[in-house]
Symmetry: C2
Subunit: 407 residues, 2 copies
């Protein structure tokens, strides 16, 4: 891929994504295979004035061997030096740049019980880091990075797979040789306008319906606020949590979701694939589920903790969004979720209720906010999706017709 | 490079190099570019029963940017999570596998004062780790790994440089498709015999002389013990600290080295090159020095701390050693030192004096042991080197003639 474009992209992630501030600690996390692109991001972070950059390389092959050979007891403990790193990051008010490149087959040989044990231990160890980002105490951004394994999944048997994937990532992220930052900022403002419009409708609930079986009523949390586009950290630094993003999203009321939802795209979870699945909700909780692929992983997800069988996010995206129109199945939630209406199991974002980032856990719960140590998006949008909203004063409003916004 | 050979090599490093014990923590350290070979080592460590493998990726490009953009004050502090990692390694009685691949041009743009500041801070932070390995509390091994940058230095303008470098590394390390471990063990035993023979001579001092200007008398520390080949950790686990190794080495008396030594191979230090240099010693201390290349780096080294202008090691290697006969300038001390007699500035290995690993610092100093936070080997062997030893009872014994052992 053209080095100038990659530099533009690195710059976009540092300047708009995390919006690195002078003197700040920056965490750059990504797959070790992408070390060359990671270098560009690290350099750009220093150019932007970073005091120190923590680089966290991820290697699913090493993780696979670690999980395969360790016993369950060992997996229950995250080594102390890892905990110290998380502490350092939070206590130094770091910002986070996370590069994702799924490799859904990497952990296939690992017993689900081992995966679950490890992921629970890691979630517990990262509780503060996760709260820090969920509450946007500091800035954070998640973006894609092309690797061979991911590219081969998206473009099988194609010798140009990596280049094609880079092209798709950069296109979705509005990167061009010049003007990437301006393009991105304009796009973020568009999404924010959209969220404002939705908020002006004072919606109480959303009813999703399509021909493949989704028939779901999602009541929104008290004082729900639809968000999208940029956010602000506690110290009022603007940042873009996802690059790319097309979504406007709100907070479902934890205990007021009823009906059935049918997935429309595969979901990568714990390094494996869950596909063709459906969930039935009663009073917020998943009471029945099925999956043609990855049922064990889905079970792991739903049983991860108390909150992981309740919703934490509801997101609206037109079926003809730019990412959707690329017509690529990315096998990466960051991209696929932006091509489709989606929900998330697990923790809700406190910012999706009025002044939520300032509320205590009890106050959040009383608003209907779901608490969990996980947050996993899944896609259920379709070209025939209808969404009817009901406002607080009882009026029905058509929000989606044939998969697209009509407001 | 043939994957089976690389797996053999990874196995050699784990089984003979660090000799990983069941239930042990293992640290695998190496350049990020070599992540694929690192995976083989990590897997082999788990197969050998490692409880946990800490992977430390090194990236000189990120380090360069970190040093370039940070101010001196920031460089004085090593982040707390790094300290926690060093603590974890020592307190868990880890063994260490370090993969080296020099890239002498990587840090050329960095001001020497910044390099010195960072390296001093790092040495201080790693004091316990360094003592842990210098005293062989746990097992450790240093070995080579081929990277593009290193290969291009050794075989410039050669499209097969990486393969050629791998070939040279594997040959020097006695790796073959079968029998690598047996070959290596036999070789280690040969070196141990050699060290025993030297010890039987009860040498008091060594006089080095050749035609390019070396004329140096190195008196040995009290109760000097020549070592070479394998070592034993505190808990009596056998290990090979260097793969490859050809050397037999002893402890110079810190205060009893006099004369001049002229280098015969370049030296990589702090990511830069020192070449064509000479040192003049009086009562153990370097009192004059010159270098055609890298004089600033040499100054940095000599002024690193009090001990870095005194010797800590004297090693004897025949000029026609197998590595020497490959006739390759590796620009990597691990290899080049095994093709040439060498000395080290900085810390001595306590094991080079009788029961040294059990002695206090004061006791070691009284034996003539040099204490320092650094240890840097440099090469001065030549094809015309003569070495005359003098025994404790005053007899002269010819040790080297025309660059080779004659005992």
């Amino acid at each position: 891929m053209n080095l100038d474009l990659l530099k533009e992209y690195a710059s976009l992630l540092v300047r708009c994504g995390a919006n690195v501030q002078a003197g700040q600690v920056v965490v750059v996390k990504g797959p070790v295979e992408a070390y060359e692109f990671i270098r560009l991001v690290v350099k750009e972070a220093y150019v932007a004035g970073a005091k120190h950059v923590v680089v966290e390389y991820e290697d699913l092959t090493n993780l696979k061997n670690s999980l395969f050979y360790k016993d369950i007891k060992t997996l229950e403990n995250i080594p102390s030096y890892e905990l110290a790193k998380f502490d350092y990051e939070v206590s130094n008010n770091a910002c986070f740049i996370s590069l994702t490149a799924p490799n859904p087959d990497a952990l296939r040989v690992i017993e689900p019980i081992k995966l679950q044990t490890y992921n629970r231990a890691l979630s517990k160890a990262k509780k503060e880091v996760n709260e820090y980002t969920m509450k946007s105490v500091g800035q954070w951004t998640v973006a894609g990075v092309a690797t061979l394994k991911w590219a081969e999944k998206v473009f099988p048997n194609d010798s140009e797979a990596v280049d094609k994937l880079w092209k798709a990532i950069l296109e979705a992220s509005r990167v061009s040789v010049t003007g990437s930052i301006k393009n991105w900022q304009a796009h973020s403002e568009e999404i924010e306008k959209h969220a404002k419009l939705l908020n002006s409708l004072n919606l109480k609930k959303l009813h999703f319906k399509n021909d493949i079986g989704t028939d779901l009523v999602v009541e929104l949390a008290d004082k729900n606020i639809f968000a999208g586009g940029d956010e602000y950290s506690k110290s009022k630094v603007r940042f873009s949590p996802n690059i790319p993003t097309e979504e406007v999203f709100g907070m479902p009321h934890k205990l007021r979701v009823n009906g059935k939802v049918v997935s429309t795209k595969p979901l990568i979870y714990q390094g494996g694939l869950i596909d063709d699945f459906s969930l039935i909700f009663k009073d917020g909780k998943v009471i029945e589920y099925s999956a043609k692929k990855g049922i064990e992983l889905l079970k792991n997800l739903l049983e991860f903790d108390e909150g992981s069988s309740y919703l934490g996010e509801v997101a609206l995206i037109s079926h003809n969004s730019p990412i959707s129109n690329q017509n690529i199945l990315f096998y990466n939630t960051l991209f696929d979720e932006n091509a489709s209406c989606h929900l998330a199991l697990g923790a809700a974002y406190p910012m999706n209720t009025l002044n939520g980032n300032e509320l205590s856990e009890e106050e959040l719960i009383s608003r209907g906010c779901n608490i969990s140590n996980t947050h996993v998006d899944f896609m259920f949008g379709s070209s025939d999706m209808e969404v009817i909203g009901t406002s607080l004063d009882g009026k029905d409003i058509k929000i989606f017709e044939n998969g697209n916004f009509v407001i």
